[in-house]
Symmetry: C2
Subunit: 456 residues, 2 copies
């Protein structure tokens, strides 16, 4: 079967685009999520054209072989993990930027274009592609679309979904379908474009995307505010949002995260800091916005407020946030990063709850959060060599998701379901929701060949 | 059958919520679209609770009676038109605003809430619900969701879809499903929320919506610019957008529309005006933005540029735009309003083409456009008593849609497909697209009871 598969794949793909050497294909077995099962692919294919992708899907349908689409494998939910005997369909070689239009504020790209490559290319036209997941230097637009990626900018600019106007998609049976539009608006039929965004490669293969762009905003200025309690920091966040401010970034790091960053990078943050808030504005007069927000932080009890005066100082203040995950990884060697999003009015309760969960399980759990969105990343630090600690890490992770749901939130703000959270999806959306999601899946992929075993 | 239907409906609805008198129910037979077939409903139901909606849908499924959901019937595509023997399910009595949260910037509403009612209610909290279809004083949020409504604000604030975070939906069989979230971000499973937005009541009955809100922006200031040709006006639009400006409104009226408004309201616009551009900014310093945009208009050949100095002057300048459709209706008594959206870089070609089409068919066709979005409303003026003119109107309408598609646009930017454009949907999205749209429909509505005969 496998030999037949490879021979058939090679009929429509150049030899170098079909990889079968296990030493090579093993590199394609999983993304960056911890603790997610990953199988051994029968082959990895690296098509360069839409026609080649269609050939792969026709072959897969003919032989009933599952297909796992992949971008840069920077995902954090195992959505790109191989299953045994599957075809891994890597889109990274389809990496052309086909069009950039400053008048229409659109770009047309292939799925393998790296986020940062697109961001820099459009910047040359005075344009801005906002979605900025932490992995933006390596992750691909196709992966961003598959996972509906977020990032630091979302509090002002929203998530990937809001920038996808239209798609070309190769369906499970190899047919090509166009969805959406190239125009600013359009309501012709069901919004299948949005259905594909965040579908984790389970409905079809995105081979081209029309993306919306924004004008390049002014350079943002950052303010850092230190608080004696996470509750005071959350009060400040609520005051900022209730006050009608529109920050371009609003990030929170808890005590554990601040300490880990201090330990790693000796940034000299005071030991009394229980929470560090970072706010940024890319408005015409960011200094005025920082002053207003600084005053709200002080009113909420900030012990220190440091507004940057220029881009260099801003970058320095953001360093602490950028180092957060690395610093937390250094605590115990391994982390399990969660992605629970709650209404921002519930952020303080979420942080309190995570602290209680850490104490209950005897674990270090650091939280950094896209606070303006209520999107927390509680990060469980543990020693992978200690099975009991591993078990407690997994249990605490579940308890954190349960807390998020209890607070009216979602188990995933931006990382997705993949294999990591598929037992939890039903708890969030209920049995009717799961049934209808499965019905949609069956409509597009009747033989269940596209990324099976993910999502539900 | 009909008697049985009414008796069954009355088992779960108060007597006054089931209307069967033809003199009364005939008022519910159609929306505001011209030339769309409309049938005679067997009954009109006006539920006040989710449970009552579920009862209606269970009854409809049991008896296999089609259901046409309705809001305020201000739609322009016939999507809310009754079919013979159907149940018209009017959601207008479910009109409660359930929550408004300034911290979370969300509102939770029932579908029958009128757009303007919500807009005013959230304004009291310093919040802003941007979607502003022309019918905003009467149209309902449920209708806006069903048709994915746009409006004047979209060039800056986007369309209804971008403000719908989560839905409660009664499915065809009466089961209740929740989609989406209450949080700023969330990617748990397929985005069924967006699938329902713009689905024209064909997938389920929206009974509750969680909406995203924005902070109330500063009062906008408006600039009017007159041009000697529509091409010069389109050049100005391209220059404004290419220049990175973010107007809160960017509207264009062609010569025919300007003349019609002049004739109706004696606004004293010069007879040499071939195009009138209106731009607005709700930024912290709108006067500065108007000055910059005014300079771009002059560079593009504007014959006169009039920036408003305050809200009252701004309102005066917008009067011309607000009167446009009424004025065009006065030309020949009847209009057929189209809704073709093209990439804004193609706007000049679209306007030229519509003028050619008007000449070809010997018709007056005025165009006003949400120019910043490339969303044109070519409005065919004709005498309904003249059958030949009616036929030419319909033919010109089709030719305008064909032109829009040829220019890379869509046949509907914001009005939807309904019955008016269903022959055209397939031309836009192709046979594979239609097949997959039908598959999605079948997944949610296997007996095809929800708004049958609409969309495709």
């Amino acid at each position: 079967m496998s030999r037949n598969l490879v021979a058939l794949l090679q009929e429509g793909l150049p030899a170098e685009a079909v990889l079968t050497d296990p030493d090579v294909t093993s590199a394609y077995s999983h993304d960056m999520a911890s603790f997610c099962e990953a199988g051994v692919p029968a082959a990895v294919v690296l098509p360069r054209t839409v026609g080649q992708v269609q050939h792969v899907m026709r072959t897969a349908t003919e032989l009933r072989v599952p297909v796992v689409p992949q971008g840069a494998r920077t995902g954090l939910s195992g959505a790109a993990n191989a299953s045994d005997g599957c075809i891994v369909l890597s889109l990274v070689k389809m990496d052309r930027i086909l069009e950039i239009s400053p008048v229409d504020r659109t770009a047309v790209v292939e799925p393998g274009v790296v986020n940062a490559t697109l961001s820099r290319a459009v910047a040359e036209y005075g344009l801005h592609y906002p979605p900025d997941p932490s992995s933006w230097e390596t992750c691909t637009i196709g992966g961003n679309i598959g996972t509906a990626s977020g990032g630091l900018c979302c509090v002002k600019y929203g998530v990937t979904a809001e920038y996808v106007l239209g798609l070309d998609v190769v369906l499970a049976d190899g047919r090509l379908m166009s969805t959406g539009r190239r125009t600013a608006k359009g309501v012709a039929g069901y919004d299948l474009t949005r259905l594909f965004v965040g579908s984790e490669g389970s409905l079809g293969i995105v081979v081209r995307a029309v993306l919306a762009l924004k004008p390049q905003p002014p350079q943002q200025l950052v303010l850092a505010a230190e608080f004696g309690s996470s509750r005071a920091a959350c009060d400040a966040i609520c005051a900022i949002m209730e006050g009608g401010h529109v920050p371009s970034l609003l990030e929170l790091m808890d005590r554990t995260t601040v300490k880990a960053v201090n330990d790693l990078a000796h940034m000299g943050l005071p030991e009394t800091t229980e929470a560090l808030l970072l706010a940024a504005f890319d408005t015409p007069d960011p200094a005025a916005d920082l002053a207003a927000v600084g005053a709200l932080c002080e009113a909420a009890g900030a012990t220190q407020v440091v507004p940057a005066e220029d881009a260099a100082e801003s970058e320095l203040l953001l360093q602490a946030r950028r180092l957060a995950l690395t610093a937390l990884e250094a605590v115990k060697g391994t982390t399990m990063i969660d992605d629970v999003c709650v209404p921002r009015s519930k952020l303080a309760e979420m942080l309190d709850g995570v602290e209680r969960i850490g104490e209950k399980y005897g674990l270090t759990i650091g939280v950094c959060a896209h606070a303006g969105d209520g999107n927390t990343h509680p990060t469980v630090c543990f020693d992978v060599a200690d099975p009991d600690e591993g078990r407690r890490a997994r249990e605490s992770f579940d308890e954190i998701m349960a807390l998020g749901l209890e607070l009216g939130g979602t188990i995933t703000g931006e990382h997705g379901i993949g294999v990591l959270k598929k037992e939890w999806l039903a708890r969030e959306i209920g049995p009717v929701g799961v049934e209808m999601q499965r019905a949609v899946k069956a409509a597009f992929d009747p033989h269940s060949l596209l990324n099976p075993g993910k999502l539900f």
